[in-house]
Structure formats: structure tokens, C-alpha cells
């Protein structure tokens, strides 16, 4: 038995490593395409924060809902969306997960219960409450994982959503990725409490704070939180401390922070940490990391090629699907 569990754990960790690598490579590739003007709009890279997506989304069940903000490529991939379809969405092509109409900030895949991709800060926290109502009604202990940034916690909708979720005991795990900045604004300059998780106390919601650079820690915290939520005890609020290595979007000159700070976080990089851990435990043999990297590179390259070769949506479709039948 112990052996079986050990093996499952190993597989899980290797999968986590691979997924973090996939997300990172995906984002790098998207940035390259953006630089070559193959895609437009905003592009909010997730590089640096991969442990949160992989630790948290990877802990969800098939019948759970996942909903996120505009920095959501990582969450979508961790939820199992095909990289090719996500990339095609960034390219605005018909094979994109939203047919090229949603874009980088609006990834949807209802077959995976991935409910977007939202561009209005904190707006989707209210949506999550409604999905929670649907889960309650379904009565199968499904939950909603709702992901957002530190910038969202000062918005009125954050408050309304957390209060409602608590009063109605909605099965929602609110996961705040605190990467210390909302665009160029440091958390402590705009939030009355620097420890974001303290906010949850105003709503009598249990809460925890976790190192978002450590995928193992994230998974553990999320499992705890999900157990609470799944048991019908109402919402949970989890704060993951993390960092984005890149600018807010491709347009950000990063005037507001210095290179040292980025360096300090990079030294605790989530991929490197897990790699080291697995190498030390002997679970990742010599050359295995490089092999994984090659695999992942190839997968992302294939995704990019898929996107590049997917057609543009026909102009005639402009007026289609404004209304459901």
C-alpha cells in the first residue's frame, strides 16, 4: 500500500513538473509570437506563477468548475485544455477554444468546465457564486475554484461575493494569487491589510496563506481547502504568495520595481525547486529533465503550428451567435 501511494505521489509530482514546464514554455512561445506580431491585443504572461495553477487546478475534480481572470493561460492548461486550442485562441483563429472571438483574456471550454477567462477585475468572483449555486443544486459535492489576483481584493465585487458565499454557504474556493502587484501598484500601497488573507475574517470564512512558489505546498493547502468546501461547510479563502517575472502585459516598462526583487523570486523558481527536490529524491534521473523539456518544447511548438495554420474566422460569422436559440 505504502508503495502504491509512493508511486502515485511520484507520478503526480512528475506530472506537476511537466505541467509547470509546459505552461512556462507555452507563455514564452506566446511572447515570441507576440513580438513577431503574430498575435495582438493584451498578453498577460503567467511566467513565475506556474506552481499555483498546477497545485490548485490540478487538485480539482472533473465536475468542479474552474473560473479565472485574464491571466489565465496557465489555469486553462492545468485544467487540461489542449495547448493548440488555447494558442489558437491567442491567435484569434477558428480552432481557438472560443473560436477566436474571445482572445487571450477569454478562454472558455465548457467541456472541461473551464468557465473563462474574464477581463473585469473581480467581476468573476460573483459569477463563481452563481456557479456555486448550480453545484449546490446538482448536489454532488462539486465545487468552484475561483482564481484572481491581489488587485481584485479592493474591488466592491470581491466584498459582495465573499459575503454572499459565506451567508449562503456556497461551495467556492476563492484563490488569490498574490503576486505583490496589480499592474504597477504594490499591494501595500492600496490594501488596508497587507496580508490579504485577513480579509476573509470579515466574512467568517476560513483562510490560509501558502507559499505559491512551492507546488507541493500549494497542492496540500488546496486539498485541505477543497475538503472543507466539498463537505458543504461553505467557502474557503486561500492566498498564494507568488510573483510574475514579466511585466503586467507586453506593454509594461516595469518602472515600478527593480531587478533585484525579480532576482530574489527567481532564486526560488517553482520549476527549479521541484526539479531539485525530485533529483535529490532520485525520482528524476540524469537527463530526464532535459528529456521532459524537449517533450514540452515539441508539444508547444506543435500547438503554435496548429494555431498558425488554423484559419481566420469568416467575416460572415461576425453577426452569428450573438443570441442563443
Amino acid at each position: 500500500m505504502a508503495k502504491v501511494a509512493e508511486k502515485a505521489r511520484k507520478t503526480d509530482l512528475l506530472q506537476s513538473l511537466r505541467m509547470m514546464m509546459l505552461i512556462r514554455r507555452f507563455e514564452e512561445r506566446a511572447a515570441e509570437a507576440y513580438a513577431r506580431r503574430r498575435l495582438g491585443g493584451f498578453l498577460h504572461l503567467y511566467i513565475g506563477q506556474e506552481a499555483v495553477a498546477v497545485g490548485a487546478v490540478g487538485a480539482t475534480r472533473e465536475d468542479d468548475y474552474v473560473i479565472s481572470h485574464y491571466r489565465e493561460h496557465g489555469h486553462a492548461l492545468a485544467r487540461g485544455l489542449e495547448p493548440g486550442r488555447v494558442m489558437a485562441e491567442l491567435y484569434g483563429r477558428v480552432d481557438g477554444s472560443s473560436g477566436g472571438r474571445g482572445g487571450s483574456m477569454h478562454i472558455f471550454d465548457v467541456s472541461k468546465r473551464f468557465m473563462g477567462g474574464w477581463a473585469i477585475v473581480a467581476g468573476h468572483l460573483t459569477t463563481a457564486c452563481g456557479l456555486g449555486l448550480a453545484q449546490l443544486k446538482a448536489g454532488k459535492q462539486g465545487v468552484v475554484l475561483c482564481i484572481f489576483g491581489d488587485g481584485a481584493v479592493n474591488e466592491g465585487e470581491f466584498h459582495e461575493a465573499l459575503n454572499l458565499a459565506s451567508v449562503w454557504k456556497l461551495p467556492v474556493l476563492f484563490l488569490c494569487e498574490n503576486n505583490l502587484y496589480g499592474m504597477g501598484t504594490a499591494v501595500e500601497r492600496v490594501s488596508a491589510v497587507e496580508e490579504v488573507y485577513i480579509r476573509a475574517k470579515a466574512y467568517d470564512i476560513p483562510t490560509d496563506r501558502v507559499d505559491g512558489m512551492d507546488v507541493i505546498a500549494v497542492r496540500e493547502s488546496v486539498n485541505n481547502a477543497l475538503a472543507h468546501v466539498r463537505a458543504g461547510e461553505g467557502p474557503y479563502f486561500l492566498e498564494a504568495l507568488t510573483f510574475r517575472y514579466r511585466g503586467h502585459s507586453m506593454a509594461d516598462a516595469e518602472l515600478y520595481r527593480d531587478k533585484d526583487e525579480i532576482g530574489r523570486w527567481r532564486s526560488r523558481d517553482c520549476i527549479e525547486q521541484l526539479r531539485k527536490h525530485l533529483e535529490e529524491s532520485g525520482d528524476l534521473g540524469d537527463g530526464e529533465f532535459d528529456r521532459l523539456q524537449e517533450e514540452v518544447d515539441a508539444e508547444v511548438e506543435a500547438a503554435a503550428e496548429f494555431a498558425e495554420s488554423s484559419p481566420e474566422p469568416p467575416i460572415e460569422s461576425l453577426h452569428a451567435r450573438v443570441y442563443a436559440e
Binding site: I120, T126, L133, Q135
Partner: protein
């Protein structure tokens, strides 16, 4: 046919939905213990319980947002926002989420939600509580907008709204809740995008919706005393709009007066006027007229408020000016 109030027509239709399909549920402020601020949901809490009649905190954004989420998750929420004035606090959720999910997701997810709210001035509720901004919602692709002007339409349109798979903004008028009208016992519904010719006429077309329908009908009475035969249209839904119905009437009468409670400048009347001149230019014997609310925040004083709202006499004057 039985005479029923607008309020009861709404209540019985909601009751019908709640009884017939357990995906329907209601959310809103004071819809439960209080019985609804316009008493539309009185008794529902006792009958359907707290899980289906959800008294919400005063938090309009999450009321609508949770409704949208529930609809995305397969339920059929009916949200009550008390009045259109409070809908501005949920504005982002309505115009930037509800209306866009289906399009942005490429048709993967639809949002079958009905968002009810009461509109209109005339009760001395002051500037912050007397808006008539139906036209704003009608401007937004992805939304449908109902503006029932009598009990028959209240029931018929609400039935259609509840079956629709899109977000429907259902705007009731505060002055109408106690109004009685014929409502058949047999099942019927009122399709969206079909106006009602309340009265046929030959000399001028009067167009109203929601609260202005009764002003239009009163004006028609006054006009007929003066020998003017007015055709009265009740638009019933602003989006979809029955363009053919409007244009058809105008081609017959060659003169039009549009009546709405809302501020004139930049209001929905402008759209109606534009469509008419675009599609019936050669039929118009006079400029399309608009009789609207005054372009001021609504004053509290009774006389000032009456002066700020379109009155039957104003409509008559407008007609006489283009005879």
C-alpha cells in the same frame, strides 16, 4: 376574461415557472420575508422556501453576477433588482458579462436569466430614484428588453422571457402594478419583437412603451375629441424591436409622435425616430416628433415632477404642431 392587476399577472407567471421546473429560483432584495418591494412575490417564501426564494444582501452586483453564474451552470435564475435605479450598481455585470458570455465563448455557454426591475418616475421619489433608462439596456447586443405596458403583456412577455435562453431585462413600470386589465385563463404568450396596435387610426401614429402607453392612449382620446384619429402602438419589447410594425403604421399615417418618460436628449426615442426616417423617409409628411421627459434630474416637488414627465396634453400639442 378575468380582470387581473399587472402585479398579479406577474406573480402568477412567476409562480407557474417556479412550480413547473425546479431550475427556476429567485434572488433579490426583500423578495422573501418582506414580500417584494412591490409585493409581487408575496407568499413565495412560505411556499417555495429559502433555497428557491433567496433574500439577498443589498449588493446588486453579486445578485446579478451570481444569477449569471447560476445560469451558466444550467439553472434558470430570476433576479429582482427592485428598481432600475439600483441596476446601475450591477451595470457592469449586465452589460459587460451577461450580454457577452454567449458571444465570447463562441456559443458554448448561454445565460438564461431574467432580470426584473421597476422603472419610472411620478411618485415623488426624487432624482436618484426616478429613472426610466430602458433605452440603455436596449442598446446592448446580447440582451433582450421587455417593457410591458399592461397586465396582458406583463404575463405574456414574462412567459416568453422565462423560456428564453438569453439574458432578458424585464422592466416593469411602478405606476402600473395596481393597474387592471384582461388576462385570459388559457395559456398564451407574447412573442418578442411584435408590437401591439392598441388602437387603429389614420392621421398620426403615437408610439409608447411601458409607462408611456397609458399617456398615449389618453392622448388619443383627447385627439379623437378634436377629430384626429391616432394609431397607438405599444412596442412591448425594445430589443428585439418590431421595426416592420412601426414602419408599416407610419407608412399609413405619415406622421409620428414618439412618447417616452426618459430624458429626451440621447434617449431611445432618437433610435425610433432615426429608424422611421431611414425606412419611411418618403412617407413622412412632417418631422418625427418626440415627447419625452425633461432633460433634468427628476425634481421631488409634485408639480415640477409632473412638468418633467410627458403628459397627454403634451402629446396632443405635438400632434397639433405637425398637422
Amino acid at each position: 376574461m378575468p380582470e387581473v392587476t399587472y402585479r398579479d399577472a406577474l406573480r402568477s407567471t412567476l409562480h407557474e415557472a417556479l412550480s413547473g421546473d425546479d431550475r427556476y429560483f429567485m434572488m433579490g432584495e426583500d423578495i422573501g420575508a418582506y414580500g417584494g418591494s412591490y409585493s409581487v412575490t408575496k407568499g413565495f417564501l412560505e411556499e417555495f422556501g429559502h433555497e428557491r426564494i433567496r433574500d439577498a444582501p443589498i449588493a446588486e452586483s453579486v445578485i446579478v453576477g451570481a444569477g449569471v453564474g447560476a445560469a451558466m451552470g444550467g439553472l434558470r435564475p430570476i433576479v429582482e433588482l427592485m428598481t432600475i435605479n439600483f441596476s446601475f450598481l450591477a451595470f457592469d455585470q449586465i452589460i459587460n458579462t451577461a450580454s457577452k458570455v454567449f458571444y465570447m465563448s463562441n456559443g458554448q455557454i448561454n445565460v438564461p436569466i431574467v432580470i426584473r426591475m421597476a422603472s419610472g418616475g411620478g411618485s415623488q421619489l426624487g432624482a436618484q430614484h426616478s429613472h426610466s433608462l430602458e433605452g440603455w439596456y436596449a442598446h446592448v447586443p446580447g440582451l433582450k428588453v421587455c417593457v410591458p405596458g399592461d397586465p396582458y403583456d406583463a404575463k405574456g412577455l414574462l412567459r416568453t422571457a422565462l423560456k428564453d435562453n438569453n439574458p432578458v431585462i424585464f422592466i416593469e413600470h411602478t405606476a402600473l402594478y395596481a393597474k387592471k386589465g384582461d388576462v385570459p385563463d388559457e395559456y398564451y404568450d407574447v412573442p418578442f419583437g411584435k408590437l401591439d396596435i392598441e388602437r387603429e387610426g389614420t392621421d398620426v401614429t403615437l408610439i409608447g412603451y411601458g409607462g408611456s402607453v397609458s399617456q398615449v392612449l389618453q392622448a388619443a382620446d383627447l385627439l379623437s375629441e378634436q377629430g384626429v384619429s391616432a394609431e397607438c402602438l405599444d412596442l412591448r419589447t425594445l430589443r428585439p424591436l418590431d421595426v416592420d410594425g412601426i414602419v408599416g403604421s407610419v407608412k399609413k399615417t405619415n406622421r409620428v409622435v414618439i412618447v417616452e418618460d426618459d430624458w429626451r436628449f440621447g434617449g431611445f426615442g432618437g433610435e425610433l425616430s432615426s429608424i422611421i426616417q431611414e425606412q419611411a423617409f418618403d412617407y413622412l409628411d412632417a418631422p418625427v416628433q418626440r415627447v419625452c421627459g425633461a432633460d433634468v434630474p427628476m425634481p421631488y416637488n409634485k408639480n415640477l415632477e409632473a412638468a418633467a414627465l410627458p403628459q397627454p396634453e403634451d402629446i396632443v400639442d405635438a400632434v397639433m404642431a405637425i398637422r
